[in-house]
């Protein structure tokens, strides 16, 4: 059953050219000089209940704008968003009771108060029944080890601790959908992993549909079944991660440490894409030439010390898609 249905979604921003200075600035309020930025351009997708989807794109690609429209913060310029039968910005109050939102860059907890106070306030804001509240608090406390944190003022928490509390805050009212905008930004490796595992459990055990934007493709690779890539406002990829690798990840990389310096390196069907001292990076298409063949050719002409074959990193693939756009 589809839970989110987005059709022909567009969002334009009018950017006024506002002159500097007060009086001219005041005049700028009424002037008509502006240009239009198409932040989101004809975006379509459907999500099923229980999906866990990564939404990625470069800065300014339109990720956050899409999330803001999905969460009801922004009104679309045109197009339709149907989430659980509601239109987010129209049924905002009813809708926000059923979703959870986490902004990685901004906490929604009360900065100077103990964490527990924030939870209590949210209980009243969302009118969470006492029983549900207690159960959820116990569940998340255990899962995220919040016990020693809840009495501390939010401002004294580390970024990772704060994120754990923010996740709890967003889930206390049993939302059916969880939106996360850059949930792992700025976190260390351990904290990132903790967030990922937590999201997986919440998704699996509570059937919460999760949609997250991120710059860290490891997030996506590890926990999302599906990937949406947006670039300059358009969805340029929508599908599984394996399929993406299949389709765009035919390129393998051989990293070779040469025994000595060669002035020129040339191997048929292989591209030298980078050189750093005696280390070279060779890219080849696995459909054209096999890895063992490449190694044979390299060793036949050059003296080598060490070599490694690297799997296509999703990051590499995405970078290529950004650079070239979709070819088909």
């Amino acid at each position: 059953m589809s839970i989110i249905k987005v059709e022909h979604l567009c969002k334009q921003f009018k950017v006024r050219e506002r002159p500097a200075g007060f009086w001219r600035g005041l005049g700028g309020l009424f002037s008509r000089t502006h240009h239009i930025i198409q932040a989101v351009d004809d975006v379509n997708f459907t999500l099923q209940r229980g999906d866990m989807v990564g939404y990625i794109g470069a800065n300014g690609a339109g990720k956050s704008t899409t999330i803001k429209m999905l969460t009801g913060i922004l009104v679309p310029t045109s197009g339709k968003i149907d989430v659980m039968g509601l239109t987010p910005y129209q049924h905002r109050r009813q809708y926000t009771r059923r979703i959870g939102v986490v902004f990685g860059q901004r906490t929604q907890l009360w900065w100077d108060l103990p964490v527990m106070d924030s939870f209590e306030l949210l209980k009243h804001i969302y009118e969470i029944p006492e029983r549900t509240y207690k159960q959820n608090l116990a569940f998340f406390s255990e899962l995220l080890q919040l016990d020693c944190l809840t009495s501390m003022p939010v401002r004294t928490l580390s970024l990772g601790e704060r994120m754990r509390c923010d996740l709890t805050a967003a889930l206390l009212h049993n939302p059916e959908i969880l939106y996360l905008d850059e949930p792992t930004i700025g976190l260390d490796v351990v904290a990132k992993e903790q967030v990922r595992q937590f999201l997986q459990r919440v998704n699996a055990e509570r059937q919460v549909t999760v949609i997250l934007t991120t710059h860290d493709l490891n997030d996506v690779e590890k926990i999302c079944q599906r990937l949406l890539i947006i670039d300059t406002g358009r969805i340029i990829y929508d599908g599984g991660i394996d399929a993406l690798k299949q389709r765009y990840g035919r390129t393998r990389m051989l990293i070779v440490d040469l025994a000595r310096a060669y002035s020129k390196i040339q191997i048929e069907n292989v591209d030298v894409i980078r050189r750093e001292g005696n280390r070279i990076w060779l890219a080849f298409d696995r459909d054209t030439i096999s890895a063992s063949e490449v190694i044979t050719r390299v060793t036949a002409h050059y003296e080598i010390q060490d070599l490694t074959i690297s799997e296509p990193e999703i990051e590499e693939i995405v970078r290529k898609i950004y650079q070239s756009g979709m070819t088909d």
Binding site: F13, T71, I73, Q94, Q108, W110, D112
Partner: protein, 271 residues
């Protein structure tokens, strides 16, 4: 789930309480703010006193009359500051994207913004205003009756609603443009100053502006006609002395409608 009036009153107290508790984390700063507000008020009163040792009367207004006018406006201003101060730097909400966090909560955004930053140090402003008002009330030899007491309360509430509507207007400008500092200053500071003096000192154009466009005259001047028993309507109908609540409601409705439009056009800060 439960009665909305109960729910929102409770929520208001909880949110306001949370903010006050946050502020009290920095007690010294809170104390300084209170002291600063009281000192500021005291200076203004001192200034007014000095002015009136030189000029005995302004258009037939004596010192107690002016003090009365001033304190009436200052009461309205203090009340508005306690309830509506959050809108003062609303452009920051817009520019920093704090409004996004408000919009994902299942409560009306204006309610949430108003409830979430109630500055208690403005209560000290209220206190000084009450003291000055009582002194002026006594010095102007107004006989206290239940009717006059009620009239005063209604006047103060209406006056604060008028000033609050200006705040809402500047917040709406912030919603649309991301900036509001100067407009807030013009509307709030100017209206507070304008309310402190009898509008009879202004030329007709300004009087009309202060009556029909920015109805500051209804915050102090026209109601003071009634309380001080004066008859200087300057060509306006005498029933304007009772016009404050009407002006307040009309202005507030207009500004709220504009706010709603502003909300719809709110474009957020992007990424």
């Amino acid at each position: 789930m439960c009665n909305p009036i109960v729910r929102y009153s409770k929520l208001y107290l909880l949110l306001a309480g949370a903010y006050v508790r946050s502020r009290l984390q920095y007690r010294l700063s809170f104390g300084f703010m209170c002291a600063a507000v009281i000192a500021g008020e005291a200076c203004l009163i001192g200034l007014l006193g000095v002015l009136f040792t030189k000029f005995r009367t302004v258009n037939g207004w004596t010192l107690p009359d002016i003090m009365f006018l001033y304190s009436l406006g200052s009461l309205a201003f203090a009340l508005m500051k306690i309830v509506g101060n959050q809108l003062d730097d609303f452009d920051r909400y817009v520019v920093r994207g704090d409004l996004d966090a408000v919009l994902i909560k299942p409560v009306p955004p204006l309610f949430y913004v108003l409830a979430s930053r109630v500055e208690l140090h403005h209560a000290s402003r209220m206190l000084t205003s009450i003291v000055i008002f009582c002194a002026a009330f006594y010095m102007a030899r107004i006989r206290l009756t239940i009717g006059r007491g009620l009239f005063t309360i209604i006047t103060v509430v209406s006056g604060s609603l008028i000033m609050f509507a200006f705040m809402l207007l500047s917040a709406t400008v912030a919603l649309l443009t991301g900036k509001s500092g100067k407009i807030t200053d013009i509307l709030i500071t100017a209206s507070k100053e304008a309310a402190a003096f009898p509008i009879s000192i202004y030329p007709l154009a300004v009087r009309l502006l202060l009556t029909f466009i920015l109805p500051v005259a209804f915050v102090t001047y026209y109601p003071a006609m009634h309380l001080l028993g004066k008859d200087q309507f300057l060509g306006m109908p005498a029933y304007f002395q009772f016009g404050a609540p009407v002006a307040a409601v009309a202005l507030l409705l207009c500004c709220y409608a504009l706010w709603r439009i502003g909300m719809r056009h709110y474009y957020s800060t992007g990424s």
